[in-house]
Amino acid sequence: MATPEQRKFIVRSENRFIAGVCGGLAEHLNVPVSYVRLAFLALSALGGVGLLLYGWLWVFTPSADETQADELRSWGAKNRTLAEEMARVQQGLFSGRENAVSLSRWRDALIGAGLLALAVLALGQWAGWNFRWDLIWPVIGILGGILLAWMQIDRSAVQPDRKINATLVIRLALGLVLVVGGLLAILSGTVAVADLLGGFWAALAIIAGAVVVLLPWGAKLWRDYLAERSNRQATAQRAEFAAHLHDSVLQTLAVIQKRSEEPAAVRTLARVQERELRQWLYGEQHLDAEDVVVEIQNEAESIEQLMLRDIDVVAVGNGQGFAGQQALVAASREAMMNAAKHAEGKISVYVECSPAQVEVFIRDRGAGFDLGSIPEDRHGVRESILGRMERAGGAARIRSGQDGTEVQLSMPRGTEQEEQRAS
């Protein structure tokens, strides 16, 4: 699969120190991360070009989380089974992707504004205005520290139950140091250092007190919020189920009550409804509508409705797009139709897709028949099953005895292109 080395799009990687730009670029260029980081440092030392480039890439490349969220979103457009829904709710995927999206928008705006301000300042300096750089640098430090700390929200919100890891703590601490350092640097211009230190301890004590008092409240609020959110999701799901049950099941039940004198009709209605509901709840939605398994299942279903018979379809593997697929499905339909018309009892269909071929077995419990005794002018079996399979490059065999009849179909599985090349 990985034979043609495909260049990845730049995606800010999980392996990150600040925002994952270097990691993503390294993956994209296929060079070690440390080289990229060194290059950025060197560029930053050369008049801050590296910083600007970093900021620019930060804003314009998606993070790995966001890309994942995008995938989830497109995946979300497809019909999910009940089990998948439940699993998703448990994993909190909903919350993850919502947070990732809202936060990234936020951050983009913030960084854009910051860069703009920096550019204006640089322009002003160049134009000869006199700035108090001794004030501006601390402010930049504070803003950077805040940003660094807030960035971690992004990460912890995506994986709410992941353990707090060391890098997260380091980044938070770094952010805090930057902010406090910047504040101190600004204040040191007006307040004596000794006073500052005293004030620092006082502030620390006040903060500690406030945290102790407010922590339980905060935790409770957070828990309430989580409970509320999962409630909302559950309600939405219930509404969806109710709508579906009303559309299909209740309608069918009403029809069944009306037609209760006709056992065959009631049985078919129940069977069709059961199939539909089962498909909806546990359906094999990992298969394409074009898949041979799905096509044969659909044929079986339509014959069930038409002939008021039960057909059990068991499938192993799946496959699509091979040359004889249409012929195979049509022959299978014909065989199922024959079984439904002529045989009593259960009809079993088994589809097996191996890499080399697709086989279909249609089994009934009828009295059986002798292939030789069918008149030449009757087209059913000879034309629609045997002839059709042979023309498409497959094979059909019919075994009939007192235990019933089994039609065995097999079709080699070359792709359309291969067939054309071969002929």
Partner: protein, 221 residues
């Protein structure tokens, strides 16, 4: 039906739908004596512990307990397996349900839509120590064990089906009864039964990575 009809089996019915239980009660053959019924995980465990039946007809989806349904009952009754056999019943024949209960220790699996006659046969078969494979379960087994790609850590005893076992599974998936499988392969019914039991054991014990991956894909594990 079979030669052993003289023996009566004691059966416990576990299903949360009273309507279904009464229907099944009426449908089951006379030699199957229903000694208890239960409608939830707790009731089921209590009744099974008290009655020690030969066979438990166990619904896969059951309320109560820790929400584990039939698999939870199986886990709690694992110490009775030598005496009491479990036959799983379900309206759904989704892969999740089947594999979960089989791997939890059920000796077979039938869907609720099959006739009373078929369920009765399945109960006798399970009581006699054999496994009951529906065509669909055979299909799942072939799906999970089918790929012949050998990987490094394959335990030959558990992770591979023999050719004969594969043949038997394919015939069952095609809708053949045990008797018809025996006739087709020129072997005795007893041999077919032992092949099926072996496959069941492998299905329960194998940690073949395909099985795990397949289960993960379908959100079972």
């Amino acid at each position: 039906m079979s030669e052993t009809t003289e023996q009566t089996y004691r059966v416990v019915l576990v299903d949360d739908h009273a309507i279904f239980r009464s229907g099944l009660r009426a449908d089951l053959a006379a030699d199957l004596q229903i000694v208890g019924e239960a409608g939830s995980v707790e009731q089921a465990i209590e009744v099974i512990e008290r009655e020690r039946p030969d066979v438990v007809l166990l619904d896969v989806h059951l309320p109560g307990g820790r929400g584990g349904g039939g698999a939870e009952v199986l886990a709690s009754c694992a110490h009775l397996f030598s005496q009491t056999k479990f036959l799983a019943l379900s309206v759904s024949d989704s892969a999740q349900d089947v594999v979960l209960v089989i791997r939890s220790g059920a000796r077979g699996y039938v869907t609720k839509s099959v006739s009373g006659q078929e369920i009765s046969d399945a109960v006798r078969r399970v009581a006699g120590g054999d496994a009951v494979f529906s065509p669909r379960l055979a299909g799942f087994v072939l799906d999970a064990f089918g790929s012949s790609v050998a990987s490094g850590q394959i335990d030959e005893q558990l992770d591979l089906l023999t050719d004969r076992e594969l043949q038997v599974m394919r015939l069952i998936a095609r809708g053949y009864s045990y008797k018809e499988v025996a006739k087709e392969l020129f072997i005795s019914i007893k041999t077919v039964e032992s092949h099926v039991s072996n496959v069941l054991r492998k299905l329960q014990l194998s940690n073949r990575h395909e099985l795990t991956r397949w289960a993960v894909e379908r959100k079972i594990l």
